[in-house]
């Protein structure tokens, strides 16, 4: 192993044994998988005990879902980062986990290399927006003309929407930076701002808007 600094300590929460084994096999050599759990309550307990850098978390878990794990752990350990994984295409579940405090979302079909990259980004405090998540967020946030009708609604700036649109189209941060003539750092800032906005925005308004538009 060529890494000199200490390996990332990763905890995996998923109710499917096969998936956990797959994650271990795929990223195990590059990061330290320090624990696993297949249900909400044991997950909360073990994560608090072992204090990993990043928790790789399935959105859909029995006993309250991934949302509860994020919510509970972050109350006592705000520095532990969460990266959500799911096969689900249900935007409301994924957005709920992000709102609870997860720093990003990937689909389970994402390649091992991309998962590793995302784990590192999340551990370093960055947000990880997969194309799907960018799409969900674009859907969940009112577009500017809706906000014109109701100025109190949280909304994304046109620049933020532009960045998300690029992510949804499969652009990397670097490619977006080149296309918009800014630095990759600026793109990262935009994405983090969107994440924060998502986590702070009024849940009721987001839900109402999503329901009105037949999302989810």
């Amino acid at each position: 192993m060529e890494r000199t600094e200490q390996n990332l300590r990763v905890f995996v929460v998923d109710d499917h044994d096969i998936f956990r084994a797959g994650v271990r096999a795929a990223v195990g050599g590059q990061v330290d998988v320090i624990g696993e759990a297949d249900d909400v309550d044991p997950a909360i307990e073990l994560i608090r005990e072992r204090e990993p850098d990043v928790v790789l978390l399935d959105v859909h878990l029995p006993g309250g879902g991934g949302q509860r794990v994020v919510d509970q752990v972050r109350r006592s350990h705000p520095n532990i980062k969460f990266l959500a994984l799911s096969v689900s295409g249900a935007p409301e579940d994924i957005i709920a986990v992000i709102r609870a405090g997860a720093s990003g979302y990937l689909t389970k079909t994402t390649s091992a290399a991309e998962v590793l990259e995302a784990l590192k980004l999340v551990a370093a405090g960055h947000a990880v927006f997969s194309p799907q998540l960018a799409g969900f967020v674009l859907e969940a946030f009112p577009s500017v003309d809706v906000a014109d009708v109701d100025p109190d609604l949280d909304r994304l700036t046109e620049r933020q929407r532009e960045v998300l649109r690029h992510i949804a189209k499969g652009y990397t941060y670097k490619e977006i930076a080149a296309a918009l003539y800014v630095s990759p750092k600026t793109i990262e800032t935009h994405v983090s701002d969107v994440l924060r906005k998502l986590q702070l925005s009024n849940r009721h308004e987001l839900t109402r808007w999503a329901v009105d538009h037949g999302i989810g």
Partner: protein
Amino acid sequence: MSAPGYRVHPLDRMLRWVVVGWRLASLAWMASLVTATLSTDAGANKTVVAGALVLAALWTLLTLYGAFRPWLHGYPWLVADGVVAIAVSVAPFVAGSHDLFFGGYPLSWVLMAAYVGNLKPALLAAAVLGAGQVIGALGKVGHTATRSVGDVAGFLAAALAFGWGLKGLRDNDCLRTDAIHAFEEERAARIRAHDRAEIAAHLHDSVLQTLALLEQNAADPQKVTSLARGQERELRAWIDKISSPFTNSLKAALRRAGGDVEDLYRMKVQTVTVGDCEMTDRLEALIDAAREALVNAAKHAGVDNVSLYSEVANGSVTVTVRDRGAGFDADSMAAEGRGVAESIVGRMQRHGGSAEVRSIPGEGTEVELSIGMDDGAN
């Protein structure tokens, strides 16, 4: 006391109007008796007689007002109502009148009591009124004990009739409501069971079959991948269909187009959709152009995945197909050879839309298609 059926429902509203209606009729009856007493009974104190009618009339107006509010349900109201009824019922004795000119008014209190609490308050009200009659009749000329006993019996009989009648109506209504709820619950359970059966049947026909095929083909990775992708697509399309408000949605049509290309060219089409709408003929053209762009990427880009993005906003639909492949010089003959001019740009223009092709050799190609959702838009 048996719990009266105090849900706010049509029966309660109806009973309230029966009570108020009885009181109005009683008042009219009383008014005619009072008129007769005033003109024929010279010995009666006219002020007391007229005063009793005015009191009954004002209280009836207040009852009418209260019928539009939740007042009539309460015991404070019932007590106040009783004070007025007793005053009216003993007025003939106070006035020294020959006739009992109160008509049906005191009975309207018994009915009110039955409305508030079924049998027991009604019986109590009747007993109080009866006692008033007996006491009032004592020592008064023209009022015999027999007659008083008759009045008391009449009040009690009315109380029994009203109290039991209302209780019966209410119990019956509760039973009916419970039966309706039970029926609705049963029906909802049946629908859920039907849905579950349908989901189970679907999973059996699709997913389990595919898993069996995967086991059989475990040695052939390409076949396994293609089976898994096909099944994933089929399952997602089915989930989209049962959860989508649209019968034939743009999202589903795009996923189908992406799936066709995945199957034909063994590449991954990563689809992200923002917003959705019902398919139209114009949007069919958009889907065809998008499929063409995907096929071009599959044939010429030399990559194993391509992004498909759609956004429905402000009355128009935009679809972007993007690959990180070979790219080409958009002005060269190579572009012509790829059918870009005719099957993408031309097709979009014919249907009132537009297409923009951006490509950089070595970096990839992005095709952006845009069309209005309605004729004349965009």
